[in-house]
């Protein structure tokens, strides 16, 4: 090979596609190979080179493996959009699957399994059958995975053709790679099936334990994870298993170690001998600690798992607390996890050492870490009664540094300490009061106010202190208002003198009349009535003894903990959530079908998501906002046929390639109604322009509310600014009364351009055999025209911005628009090919820079100014075609509103 691959990215003067086409058909092998590389290069940067399908497939019959692999890579990418043409490749595949070279056989079966085209799937069965019994282990291990691929496409076929049995046979294969892949494939199939398919008997267990020793590290993980489902019959069997697995703890691969730990922990439950258990704990400690020497990302995973393990078996690492001390160069996410574990391991024996560390962390630079360290001291105080006093003295020391956020955090934890040990440490209240006026965080303020109210009788000037807060009562956040209300009531009950009396009236008035917070109002009314009917009863209620709080450092309840422990070494153990709360694994088939049928659905997938604010990282909410609930029924047989987008461009028979899907369309978002049934004599048409995979479509829904069948639908577009026109005839089946049909009409640009000033008008005419011609108009929203290659480098952006004259800058303000979250807005914009370049802060406003491009290479340079949550968005754009600006703003406004 000569030169650099990067040359394949360079553009040519002549049209790129024709030139490539010519080269692909060259008589010279090298030239053809180079051409395929160029095609792949174009493909990887997102250019559409699907029109070269036939030419590339022609290069497939070659002995050259390098070239063959490239062609296969291309095939996997485009077969879906060219199902009819993909058939052309089948013969070569079938031939290749019988090639004398095992690499070619494996390659063929591997690739065929990745081509998710129904017609090909049928041809896959025979070669797969053969390859599962191939002499070469490389072919067999590839075939094993291929069964899982096939199951994902067509589960029934796999069961009918007996592939599951062949797969189970492979568990006894003499090659460990094959065994590992068979196990992985079976485990996946089992996960997606309700029937028992892959059950681990004690015979399989023995086989797999033997294979374990010879497997690659990855195979070991597959096997260990599969075996972790096995329930040993008795303590003896459990001991045996553990004995076979323990050597894996010495492995350099962290995944192997953690999976082995999981296995051992699980079997330990059955082991009755305390000696053995103790011994196992001792054996597990060093490898667990060693995980903390790995890369920080692995450390994080390990720490999240260790957090669970020490909750269940604190003895394992009881003596290792030192290894959890934070290193100054640990990433913050590692430090936070280490703190959590230090609290869990803190004991009367090591508390002095631990406090010394916490004190040190509390003076570091990173504010979040400092806060957490201060809180950790408080949690230790609550957890360890005998150490509480030492913890408090450390907190007091920290308060004296007078670093604002340290003080506030300390006050929050001291409130908890007071609740844990009532009437023990009140002597420090005076010190706390010194910091009163520096408090500006709601939680800290609320905590301080609680303390004042609770100990009002011991604080001489409690009324003055509270009064100072009352001035700003209406402006305080609800949390503080509630505490002020309660504290004032307590003060009044404890010191029913004139001052407090006036205060209580002011507060009750404020909290009932002046507020619109129902919690506050309700609480105020309760107090009010209590105080006015029976002050003694009020005392009993408000000043009642509070239940003592306990240590919350083992916050997981035991059933959740057990579930999570069973899921050690899975994502579950990192998120500390049960799998069902975040696994939204979908049958690929159903998703595919959905995507293909309703591209507008997947388009608006992003804009939709802000409605479910993006789930917390590492904390997927249980009401996961996934668009694809795990329960969505898999489409049984096969993926729905895919519209053949380019069929008629190449002039092939596409009579059935564009198949409308006449199933009701609850999945897609509703389309705007353009021709209401009332106007269309019972025919209702809803439609919208959408963009999917770089192509503009007209997504249409026809609903027949007439009494007769409607057929022979045709469509015509009037001249418009962008010359949008249909690429082919409208494909709508005869519509029976009461039915509807959805269709996707691929559109081209610049076919029949209307002269004059740009506008968004799109006039459409639709006719059928039964009714007169219907006319309606639609709007061209510019955002469907934004192309995928609209991203600009920062430097280019700056340059372009400077190079355009100021007269090309257009400014528009949208006073009514509110940006609720920068992030989801950016997501939305990106989903419509408006690409984020940079942002800066200007006072309280965010200034975003984005770029977009419409066909014919017209760029838009966008500057958005807004403050999150505050109405008013300013947008300035610069573009070589400023006459397009109104269209752009219209699209943007619509976009930000939705």
């Amino acid at each position: 090979m000569s030169g650099h691959d990067s040359k394949y990215f360079s553009t040519t003067k002549k049209g790129e596609i024709p030139e490539l086409k010519e080269e692909l058909n060259s008589q010279y092998k090298d030239k053809r190979k180079d051409a395929v590389k160029k095609v792949i290069a174009a493909m990887t940067v997102g250019k559409d080179v699907s029109s070269l399908f036939t030419d590339v497939v022609n290069c497939m019959q070659t002995e050259n493996l390098e070239l063959k692999k490239l062609v296969y890579l291309y095939l996997i990418n485009y077969a879906k959009s060219q199902p009819d043409l993909a058939i052309l490749a089948v013969n070569t595949f079938v031939k290749d699957s019988q090639d004398p070279n095992p690499l070619i056989r494996a390659l063929a079966v591997r690739t065929m399994g990745c081509i998710r085209v129904d017609k090909i799937t049928e041809y896959l069965c025979d070669p797969l059958q053969r390859c599962l019994k191939d002499d070469d282990p490389y072919v067999r291990k590839t075939a094993a995975i291929c069964v899982a691929k096939l199951y994902d496409i067509n589960a029934e076929l796999v069961e009918d053709r007996g592939f599951l049995d062949s797969l189970k046979d492979l568990i006894s294969d003499n090659n460990p790679m094959v065994v590992a892949n068979a196990v992985a494939a079976l485990a996946e199939i089992q996960e997606n099936s309700a029937r028992p398919i892959f059950e681990i008997t004690s015979a399989t267990l023995q086989k797999l334990l033997t294979a374990l020793n010879e497997c690659t590290e990855w195979g070991q993980v597959f096997i260990l994870d599969a075996l972790s489902r096995y329930k040993a019959a008795d303590a003896r069997e459990a001991e045996n298993i553990v004995e076979r697995v323990t050597p894996r703890l010495q492995h350099a691969n962290c995944a192997v170690v953690l999976s082995a730990v999981k296995m051992i922990l699980q079997q330990m439950e059955l082991i009755t001998s305390t000696d053995i258990v103790r011994n196992l704990c001792k054996k597990m400690a060093p490898p667990l600690v060693t995980l903390l020497s790995a890369e920080p990302e692995i450390q994080y995973v390990a720490l999240r798992n260790i957090n669970l393990i020490v909750q269940k078996r604190p003895t394992i690492l009881a003596h290792e607390i030192k290894v959890f001390f934070c290193k100054y160069n640990d990433p913050i996410y590692v430090k936070m996890e280490k703190l959590e574990i230090m609290i869990k391991l803190a004991s009367d024996r090591n508390i002095d050492q631990v406090l010394l560390e916490f004190k040190e962390y509390a003076t570091e630079v990173d504010v979040d870490f400092v806060r957490k360290a201060v809180r950790a001291i408080g949690r230790c105080a609550i957890k360890l009664e005998r150490a509480a006093e030492r913890c408090i003295s450390v907190l007091l020391e920290l308060i004296k540094i007078k670093v604002n956020y340290v003080v506030q955090e300390a006050i929050i934890v001291i409130k908890d300490i007071f609740r844990r040990y009532p009437n023990t440490y009140e002597s420090i209240i005076a010190t706390l009061c010194e910091s009163l006026d520096t408090l500006d965080e709601p939680e800290a303020k609320a905590s301080m106010i609680w303390i004042i109210g609770e100990y009002a009788e011991r604080i001489d000037n409690a009324d003055e202190l509270l009064e100072s807060f009352l001035e700003s009562f209406p402006e305080e956040p609800p949390q503080v208002q509630l505490q002020l209300l309660t504290a004032t009531v307590k003060l009044f009950l404890k010191k029913p003198t004139e001052g407090p009396q006036q205060m209580i009236q002011a507060v009750l008035n404020n909290a009932t009349v002046e507020t619109d917070n129902p919690d506050l109002r309700d609480r105020a009314y309760i107090y009010w009535r209590l105080l006015s009917t029976d002050p003694e009863a009020a005392k009993d209620v408000v000043l009642a003894e509070k239940p003592v709080i306990t240590d919350d450092s083992n916050q997981l309840d035991s059933s959740l903990l057990d579930e999570l422990l069973a899921n050690i070494a899975t994502l579950s153990s990192v998120y500390h959530k049960p799998p069902e709360s975040f696994v939204t694994r979908l049958k690929t088939v159903s998703q595919r079908a959905e995507e293909d049928d309703y591209p507008e659905g997947s388009e608006s997938g992003y804009p939709e998501s802000p409605a479910h604010p993006v789930d917390g990282a590492a904390s997927p909410s249980s009401s996961s906002g996934s668009r694809h609930p795990a329960t969505s029924p898999p489409v049984a047989a096969a993926p729905a046929p895919v519209p053949d987008l380019l069929g008629d461009l190449i002039g092939l028979d596409n009579s059935n390639s564009l198949v409308p899907v006449d199933q009701p369309a609850p999945a897609g978002p509703p389309l705007p109604v353009l021709l209401p049934a009332a106007k269309g004599q019972g025919l209702q048409i809803s439609a919208e322009l959408t963009r999917s995979d770089g192509q503009v479509f007209y997504s249409m829904l026809f609903e027949n509310n007439t009494q007769s069948v409607l057929d022979g639908f045709m469509i015509q577009f009037n001249k418009n600014t962008f010359g949008l026109a249909a690429t082919g005839p409208l494909q709508v089946p005869p519509l029976h009364p009461g039915t509807s049909a959805r269709t996707l009409l691929p559109m081209v640009l610049f076919q029949n351009v209307a002269p004059g000033a740009p506008n968004t008008l799109l006039q459409v005419a639709v006719k059928n055999n039964q009714q007169p011609v219907w006319y309606f108009s639609d709007k061209i929203s510019l955002h469907v025209l934004f192309t995928e290659d609209g991203r600009m480098e920062r430097a280019t952006f700056l340059e372009t911005w400077k190079s355009l004259p100021d007269s090309n800058e257009v400014l528009r303000e949208f006073p009514g628009l509110v940006i609720k979250s920068m992030e989801s807005t950016l997501d939305k914009l990106a989903a419509s090919n408006m690409f984020f370049i940079a942002k800066r802060k200007n006072a309280n406003q965010e200034v975003l820079y984005l770029s977009a491009k419409i066909p014919r290479g017209i760029p838009f340079l966008i500057e958005l100014t807004a403050a999150v949550g505050v109405p008013g968005v300013k947008c300035a754009i610069k573009t070589p075609s400023p006459e397009m600006a109104p269209l752009f703003f219209e699209a943007l406004e619509h976009f930000l509103q939705s």
Binding site: A148, A252, L258, P287, K322, I332, Y333, G616, A617
Partner: protein
């Protein structure tokens, strides 16, 4: 299993993208990048390496400034994915010689070929460079090493701009040398990262060595290799003395807390004479990782002092003493110390005699930085700094400044005293005498002196 694998540049550009299962939408790279870039959750500013957005789990590791990312919808083993991402980077580096945006882009065909062999339908098949060799047909285009800053362990052996002999570690394991013939050589690097925390009074609070024996073989024919360590190496601290160190101090024995080995290593004789035998596979890999908390002599003593010197003024004195033999030299030393947030000005008083020394006050994050090019074993250097404050101190300077942290690299020195006594290569013929490089290097991991 994973659904997608991709590599993004720091700017978020897509360098490599491979979809294995088609169950995660294409926009995942955008979603991922934005999430990581603007992370703000649970009061943390840095995204954890694993997170979930709308049912898709994103894993990422940062390697040489690139983001290696995997996505999945399933409840997979996170450590497997993290390991996998690391290994993919290692295999790619083995092939390309250098891992960088440029080398990835230039070799995209090869990279995709690798990715197809490494992962099938989201399941890892192999990450062994050796095994992969029989399936990979593209040849790498080697990016000129001189233009790219060397990364990874190899760069530790750079002495300024001069390279140490045989730092061809940036060469590809499969590409041929310009001359056509490959040089027969093998590198064994003992790399130790040490963490030490000194108390304000100079005592050692914690100390730890994370070591690894890294091997990179360019030997043809895969001969067997024997690696002998000191015979007094013992593993396991015996009993569980929670604090303090084993009683072995002074006895000279090297006591490792724990260690693990690459799967190709045979330990048949390890218990007997501390030799490891293995047939090294191609590419770079860790023969052995070890961890030690046994007391050792820290290479540097660091003491730092901050004292008030009149109103709105204070003085800082940082002293570092190199306590390793004068035959070794530490390089790229950087000492950092956070100063009180109200520090407005700092003037330095650097002593003459130190090589390439530079002291600076980083206004933006209120940090003092003192860098030295070189420190010879046995030498001692002191930095004096006069601080001017913009407000009264709270009388608690030591809590508002520090701790002092230190970065350094010391080639040809290791603190644990673990040694490779000999490296034996099974001879193919009498004339077969490949180059063997056994190199030691010690690096600071978390080297901190508290105030």
């Amino acid at each position: 299993m994973i659904s997608q694998f991709f590599v993004l540049s720091q700017r978020g550009d897509n360098i490599v993208f491979r979809d294995y299962r088609g169950d995660v939408q294409k926009g995942s790279t955008e979603i991922f990048f934005r999430k990581v870039k603007f992370w703000k959750e649970d009061g943390e500013e840095e995204a954890p390496p694993v997170f979930n957005v709308d049912g898709v789990n994103y894993f990422h590791v940062k390697i040489v400034g690139l983001l290696f990312v995997a996505t999945t919808r399933a409840n997979v083993s996170p450590s497997l994915i993290m390991e996998l991402l690391q290994r993919i980077s290692r295999v790619t580096k083995d092939y390309l010689g250098i891992l960088s945006e440029e080398s990835l882009r230039r070799n995209f065909v090869l990279v995709y070929e690798l990715l197809d062999e490494v992962i099938d339908f989201g399941y890892v098949q192999t990450t062994s460079t050796e095994v992969l060799k029989s399936y990979i047909f593209n040849e790498p285009i080697v990016v000129d090493a001189a233009r790219v800053p060397a990364l990874g362990p190899a760069s530790l052996f750079m002495q300024g701009n001069k390279r140490m002999p045989g730092t061809a570690v940036t060469k590809s394991v499969v590409a041929n040398e310009p001359g056509g013939r490959k040089r027969e050589e093998i590198f064994v690097d003992i790399i130790e990262k040490i963490s030490v925390t000194f108390s304000s009074s100079g005592y050692i609070l914690t100390s730890e060595i994370d070591g690894t024996i890294q091997m990179k073989s360019y030997l043809t024919g895969n001969p067997e290799i024997k690696l002998a360590l000191n015979e007094d190496v013992t593993i396991g601290r015996g009993g569980s003395s929670a604090y303090g160190y084993g009683s072995s101090v002074g006895s000279g024995a090297v006591i490792l807390d724990d260690c693990n080995f690459h799967e190709s290593v045979h330990l048949d004789n390890f218990d007997l004479d501390r030799t490891l035998s293995l047939v090294p596979s191609d590419g770079e890999f860790s023969v052995m990782n070890y961890r030690m908390t046994q007391e050792f002599k820290p290479p540097f003593r660091v003491t730092a002092l901050i004292e008030e010197a009149g109103a709105l003024k204070a003085e800082v004195i940082i002293k570092i003493r190199a306590e390793f033999p004068s035959s070794a030299t530490a390089n790229t030393i950087l000492v950092q110390m956070p100063l009180p947030s109200y520090t407005s000005r700092v003037s330095f008083d650097v002593e003459p005699g130190a090589v390439g020394q530079l002291a600076d006050f980083k206004e933006a994050n209120k940090r003092l930085e003192w860098s030295l090019k070189k420190i010879v074993g046995g030498a001692e250097h002191t930095l004096r700094a006069k601080l001017t404050f913009s407000q009264e101190t709270h009388g608690n300077l030591t809590k508002e400044a520090g701790p002092v942290s230190m970065n350094f690299t010391i080639p040809m020195y290791n603190a644990s005293r673990l040694q490779v006594k000999y490296l034996q290569i099974a001879k193919k013929s009498k004339t077969y005498n490949p180059y063997r490089w056994v190199r030691y290097v010690t690096q600071a991991n978390s080297y901190v002196a508290r105030m």
